[in-house]
């Protein structure tokens, strides 16, 4: 005969006092504790272990990709901070981890070229990006940049008149190339001071005026001013040298 003040446990049918909460399920203490201790089903443990094992196996196999990505991002951060040598070191290490990846290689080569350009090693800078132009397909900006670097390299060591005229033609078509304009000016100044050739003097005057307007370096602007004054004076003086052959 059942007690009206008790209810059967849902699990084992033992008579127990009715639960206190409205949402509470009637369970005896033993069954409640058994349910609390109940583990997740074995098939779930096995599947979870299999997934963890698969992921754990994948991690060492793909670790070099993750490491290369971190180094690639570190290169970008260092480059944005202006630390080009650090950026190049990171980019180089990324390439060593995943050789043949175009994205990594492009960044490494562009950084190498940037460093060489900053050091006025224009031939090295051109060599760094030449393979990119060959393999990257139709990229007019990159081709223009390579052409500029090759012209800059040719201006460094006593360029002849033909080289200078080639540089002028390029500059006429690409007026935004400030670095080329500066190096062309430098080449003309060197030649004019060595030979007194009026062709160099007449060529360097418009270049100097434009570079003076472009530069934000007051010392450089002062030097250009001195050169301008020197050249203008020499051109106006009665005993100025005639135009010599190149």
């Amino acid at each position: 005969m059942s007690d009206a003040a008790t209810v059967p446990c849902l699990s084992c049918d033992t008579d127990i006092p009715p639960p206190t909460g409205a949402a509470e399920v009637p369970l005896c203490e033993a069954c409640r504790q058994k349910l609390q201790r109940q583990s997740l089903p074995p098939w779930l443990w096995i599947l979870s272990a299999a997934v963890v094992l698969a992921a754990a196996t994948l991690l060492p196999a793909n670790y070099h990709y993750l490491s290369a990505y971190v180094r690639y991002q570190a290169a970008e951060i260092a480059q944005n901070d202006g630390r080009l040598h650090d950026a190049h070191a990171w980019a180089e290490s990324a390439v060593s981890l995943v050789p043949g990846d175009m994205t990594l290689e492009i960044r490494e080569r562009m950084l190498r070229s940037q460093i060489a350009t900053r050091d006025r090693r224009y031939a090295d800078a051109a060599e760094a990006i030449a393979p990119l132009v060959d393999s990257a397909g139709d990229l007019p900006e990159l081709r223009e940049h390579l052409l500029q670097l090759r012209l800059l390299a040719s201006l460094i060591d006593d360029p002849d008149r033909e080289t200078l005229e080639r540089a002028h033609r390029f500059l006429d078509a690409h007026e935004h190339q400030a670095l080329l304009r500066q190096e062309l000016l430098t080449a003309h100044v060197r030649r004019w001071r060595a030979t007194g050739n009026t062709w160099d003097a007449r060529k360097l005057l418009p270049l100097a005026r434009k570079v003076a307007r472009e530069t934000s370096d007051p010392e450089f602007a002062r030097l250009i001013g001195e050169v301008l004054s020197e050249v203008e004076t020499a051109l106006e003086s009665p005993g100025r040298p005639t135009e010599a052959s190149p």
Binding site: Q36, A54, A55, T57, A61, N62, Y65, A68, V70, Q73
Partner: protein, 180 residues
């Protein structure tokens, strides 16, 4: 409707992890679990029947357990697979499988309507500070309800893909900031 079922069929591991997350939360909080159905072909893809939580905080943790656990598992599984595949083109069945599991977990991270209803029900239950509980819970419940509504626009799928695809990148970019 058919698309919904197709997506569920494609991401069913996430449902299992979702229910397991509820069970884990119950176990950690000492709340008795009466019955678990990890996966079923029904409107409710799975369920966990458990004893009432002792307090509102426990109810919150149980209801939002999948949001945390599913998202973490999605991120952890995507870490060795996402970047190699998406950025470096490293294909392989292992990578694809792990990525599929990761996205599946992410897709089913959101609390269900029943989970959100349990939070609101507990906040509204009779007892001390009922109004205060309701006021405090209302922003969270509304946010979770909004997220749940967005699943109509497949926001849950977008969430799973975004966490799997971009979560590892953000973490590794953070590491790059520390070492650069």
């Amino acid at each position: 409707m058919i698309w919904g079922w197709l997506i569920i069929a494609a991401t069913f591991p996430g449902v299992i992890v979702h229910e397991a997350a509820h069970v884990i939360a119950c176990r950690l909080l000492g709340v008795t679990v009466y019955e678990v159905r990890f996966l079923q072909i029904d409107r409710n893809l799975g369920y966990v029947l458990h004893a009432p939580a002792p307090n509102l905080f426990s109810t919150l943790l149980i209801a939002t357990g999948p949001l945390v656990i599913n998202s973490l598992i999605c991120l952890a599984l995507a870490m060795p697979a996402s970047i190699p595949r998406d950025i470096f083109g490293a294909t392989g069945w292992g990578t694809g499988l792990i990525l599929w599991l990761a996205v599946s977990c992410g897709v089913h991270a959101f609390p269900s309507r029943a989970d959100i209803a349990a939070i609101w029900e507990h906040a509204s239950s009779a007892g001390r500070f009922r109004r205060i509980r309701q006021i405090l819970i209302w922003p969270l419940a509304t946010t979770l309800s909004g997220l749940n509504l967005l699943t109509i626009l497949w926001f849950d799928i977008i969430f799973g893909i975004v966490v799997a695809a971009f979560g590892p990148r953000w973490i590794l970019k953070g590491i790059a900031h520390l070492i650069a």
